[in-house]
Symmetry: C2
Subunit: 315 residues, 2 copies
């Protein structure tokens, strides 16, 4: 059996919000982080963004040793300098197939043969942009949720030609840096997270379209109901605990209802422009467009305090 | 305009877990609570169950004034004694249409004409069991989530013959006792909450059936990802904050993906017995059946601490 050297140096390709978040995670975990972004302006701001995120985490009690962590980060002037010595590369360039394909080709030509490349792609599968890349068997999707340094889940999705041995290795690596990795056995559009979100959103939009409730009340149904369970138990554990005999007992009682729900949605309507405008108007009445950035900062603060609370409860 | 007297006395019909939870809510809010259950054994244990729930809440800082609250509760030997003077009646009898219909007939014959009757039904609409009840226009669904005194959401669903003036009145009343009411304009199977849950569960079961991921990893995708947002923002606010320009910007980017997800699920498969058994086996490997009650108590404690944390954050 081949022994894998531990991952000590990480290359970050693309240093926007996602790449910066990854840098926070890796540097706080004691790894050396070498950052490259093709945009010199983004390179110049990367450390500022990263240190601000670290300070926000420290304020909440989610991080310490910030100065040491920052000392482990190097912003590089070339892609080669950032990744040629890396044990692991996290690619977070703009999410467009041709941009991802060009990045994969360049990365594959520069990395050591034993390195692993995770792509932050949230929807484009690796097979769509790594087919002709050098060392394409070293690439897989490693999809985080924004902001990556706060929301722990990471989706690992191999392409058909990804070396199968990489998946458990990256899973262990992600756990070692405090993330919560989940593994897909093969590619599917939307992976797990956006498919689950999409199923709920499609039902929410259909209920709104048919006038059963306001968007605000649909939101409350989740935020003051379903979501309170789902932030510490997934859907299967939730139903397992929701009938005296467990999951199969629950299923025998509720499956007919959920089958009816499914049958009522076999005609795909999509989200019409009118429907989107209705939902958007309801949101703008609650929150003017100019206040979106403030509310986003609020969301991130709430998320950090929530994660801190859940960690304190051992979750 | 008719002035509505404030609700001071609540009648509780059915004192199992749901009815007891309602009693906790109302008594802690300063109301007089009169409880009846057809089962003398349940009547005899009601105060024990209620005081235990109140103590658990007090331990977490979610309740005070327990002794005064308990002093406002009376367990009655007859249905008439519990509800004939009540301003509001919460019915939480066993969820079967004939049982609900018999309860509605008896309740309608005993209440004052100005009283309101909320049914805790989680799925059966009021039109299915109040059609021939006396004063049927005074009934509507007021569906809580277990445990009602911890999870705030309550679904209000009028029957076609429900007096429309009751809906805003009950909405205000539920807010006044600390619940988070949502209003459906008319009946639909599963109401909002179980339809939204069902949409997500149907996708989760399909992903499991096709072998894309384990039930545990699907759970993690929610509990370490989607659910962290959904416990303080609903799905519409979540996407509103997830694109620079807000909800319509998000929709223009992601609607095609979610339409594809919908198109991939137009063939309803239901949850086969084999599939249920697979999911159940995965859960039983993680949590033996004998440990379900302990885990349920853990869930309720986590929920109470979570609700306390979110309240502390002003949520």
């Amino acid at each position: 059996m081949e022994a894998h050297p531990p991952i000590r140096t990480v290359g970050i390709v693309g240093a926007g919000l996602v790449g910066s978040g990854w840098s926070v995670i890796f540097a706080l975990s004691g790894l050396h982080v070498r950052i490259y972004d093709a945009d010199a302006g983004i390179r110049a701001q990367a450390i500022t963004l990263i240190s601000r995120s670290m300070r926000e985490m420290a304020d909440v009690g989610l991080a310490d040793g910030i100065d040491e962590a920052l000392s482990r980060i190097t912003v590089c002037d070339s892609l080669a300098s950032a990744i040629q010595e890396a044990d692991y590369v996290q690619e977070s360039v703009f999410e467009r197939r041709d941009v991802k394909a060009e990045a994969a080709a360049q990365i594959g030509a520069l990395i050591r043969p034993g390195a692993v490349v995770g792509s932050s792609s949230s929807g484009i599968p690796a097979s769509a942009f790594t087919e002709t890349a050098p060392l394409r068997e070293r690439f897989l999707i490693v999809h985080p949720v924004n902001p990556p340094h706060v929301v722990p889940v990471v989706e690992l999705v191999p392409a058909p030609w990804t070396d199968p041995a990489l998946v458990p290795r990256v899973r262990s690596f992600m756990k070692s840096v405090g993330q919560a990795p989940v593994v897909l056995t093969r590619e599917i559009e939307g992976f797990l997270l956006n498919r689950l979100q999409g199923a709920l959103l499609n039902e929410a939009f259909a209920l709104l379209e048919d006038g059963y409730a306001s968007a605000a009340d649909i939101d409350t149904t989740v935020s003051k109901g379903l979501g309170l369970r789902w932030c510490f138990m997934g859907p299967f554990e939730t139903i397992d605990l929701n009938a005296p005999g467990g999951l199969d007992d629950y299923a025998s009682r509720l499956e007919p209802l959920y089958r009816t729900v499914a049958h009522s949605r076999t005609q795909v309507r999509g989200w019409s422009l009118d429907l989107i405008e209705r939902a958007n108007k309801e949101r703008r009445d609650l929150l003017p467009k100019a206040e979106l950035p403030t509310r986003r900062a609020w969301r991130d603060r709430v998320l950090m305090h929530l994660v801190k609370h859940l960690r304190g409860a051992g979750l």
